[in-house]
Symmetry: C2
Subunit: 330 residues, 2 copies
């Protein structure tokens, strides 16, 4: 027993399939016809088949969201923002997460050619020429969240990440801190590199001295890795402030410092990045740079919908300004 089709509805209503299609899509029809069609639709519980529709109109009514790992709360917020916007639209959200290697991202990008999505929101954690090339060759609307690779002309939402570090460092300096460390994630990732570059630049501008050993990299952006990394931090007894790659890492650092009996913020001030819910739940509560992940998700989704509605317009770049949320860890 198969699902009712447009022709079963037509049969049931005693009209042609064309009339059914018109009623479904809101085109004019005689009231009499319309009501008979609607009755038949209700009777049979008819739902148009999305594959057939997609084949015909070349629209899948799906948007693909692609990022590295849903384990990161920032991506969760982003997903939420995207989801909220799409929920108000006709689009479904297909989640292409857990693409941790360049090869996997490439594979996933290539699969977009199957046409199962009308648009792509991507936040690539790695930079790779091949990735850039594949994105630029996609014939569907794309919005990239994060730093736009040179030569790539797509809609873009990115955060002034170096301003984020600046807000944090300036705040720390104002509180009398002068020896600031950076507990970062891997430098081969985009966020890692951005934080590192920003840190260097900002400290220079603030005329704070900077040595290589001030910066340390964890294996990834998790609290566990952060904990391990900070436990082999050579300058731990010399710094009076620590900026962490994200809140998770800050929480890992906080735990380590607490176990060592190092007072926060007495001895070392700690600031996180992302301003996730976690920031207000750890102890001491965490000063954090809000990168507005959820807003970025919303902005990206709106940008994409706008671009789908208006394919010829020039690409837009939205830059969002981070905010420093001061709590008790600084």
């Amino acid at each position: 027993m198969r699902s009712p089709t447009i022709s079963s509805v037509a049969l049931h209503a005693g009209v042609s399939v064309a009339s059914v299609s018109r009623v479904m899509n809101g085109f004019a029809a005689r009231p009499e016809t319309e009501s008979r069609v609607r009755a038949a639709i209700a009777d049979l519980g008819y739902q148009p088949n999305s594959a057939a529709r997609a084949l015909k109109v070349r629209e899948s009514d799906q948007i693909c969201l692609s990022f590295a790992d849903i384990g990161n709360p920032a991506y969760v917020s982003m997903t939420r923002g995207v989801g909220r916007v799409l929920h108000e639209s006709k689009y479904r959200l297909v989640l292409a997460s857990s693409f941790s290697t360049v090869g996997e991202i490439i594979q996933q990008l290539e699969s977009m050619g199957r046409g199962y999505a009308d648009g792509l929101i991507i936040s690539p954690i790695y930079s790779d020429p091949k990735i850039t090339e594949l994105i630029s060759q996609l014939k569907m609307p794309v919005v990239l969240i994060g730093t736009l690779p040179t030569g790539l002309d797509v809609d873009n939402v990115h955060i002034d990440s170096s301003l984020g570090i600046k807000l944090a460092a300036t705040h720390l300096k104002e509180r009398g801190r002068s020896k600031i460390g950076l507990l970062n994630g891997p430098l081969n990732t985009n966020p890692g590199r951005r934080r590192s570059d920003g840190f260097r630049k900002v400290l220079k501008n603030l005329r704070l001295e900077i040595v290589e050993e001030q910066m340390i990299q964890a294996d990834d952006f998790t609290s566990q890795s952060a904990y391990e990394a900070i436990s082999r931090y050579p300058l731990i007894s010399e710094i009076d402030a620590l900026i962490c790659g994200n809140d998770l890492m800050a929480a890992g650092a906080l735990r380590f410092l607490s176990e060592l009996g190092i007072d926060v913020p007495g001895k070392i001030a700690v600031v996180g990045i992302d301003n996730t819910e976690l920031a207000s739940l750890v102890k001491p509560t965490l000063t954090s740079v809000d990168l507005l992940a959820e807003s970025r998700g919303e902005l990206a989704a709106n940008l994409l919908l706008d671009r789908i509605a208006n394919p010829k317009r020039a690409s837009k770049k939205i830059v969002v300004q981070p905010k420093l949320i001061v709590r008790s860890s600084t």
Copy 2:
């Protein structure tokens, strides 16, 4: 300039569309033919159109995952588990989250008739006869995560939730606590009701006295609501232990207790539920009942794939046993 189709490939390779299709789907072909087809595919960068394929074979290669809110870390873990399994398969993950009202769930369930998914994993936060009915009428494989409504015969993964409460309460009793409170979420949700029922039953079995005021409900399962709820908890000065609806709520409670200067676990022991990463990041670290959300996600996905491969088999019910993870809050 449109995407290459199977017939452009056929043309380019000088063979028929049937041969191209056969090569694509791994059927026998003369080596000569196969290599020419493969070359043409590579030349043109051909990707089969998923809508056309879906229409023909009546398979979308998509799985729909539906739950209330991705803001809850437990659902994030679940999503991760599902995602990991699907990533190894041919299926894409369609995320239908943020369905917070019964009406929205119903709408989403009805839309499944469009055939955009080959299966559904659903974890409904509300019980409603209409929801149950709609699920039972779906003609695609369904696995339900959570307590199975009576009369619904679908694959199911659920957790022995009352055992979870029992583990927590028994542990607390062994540590000499006798006056245990429950900081729960709303009672009109499935998890809320399960926790409440389990709590009553377990305390009775442990021969601990129980009065209604021992149990309090927050407006939802967030830390914020938990904080607000506990701040009007009438018995706060009488209890010596508190079981919370989830880790988020426990973190909210911890914050409140800390602000009041009530020692944990000295004065009050606190246990959370879900054993999310948060549990090891708050201070004191949180004893928590691990409900294995990620495993449940994996189990559900595997159950669904198995059911798709074997539609006639009887429905399976998997019950997973919670584990108590003891940390320093008890």
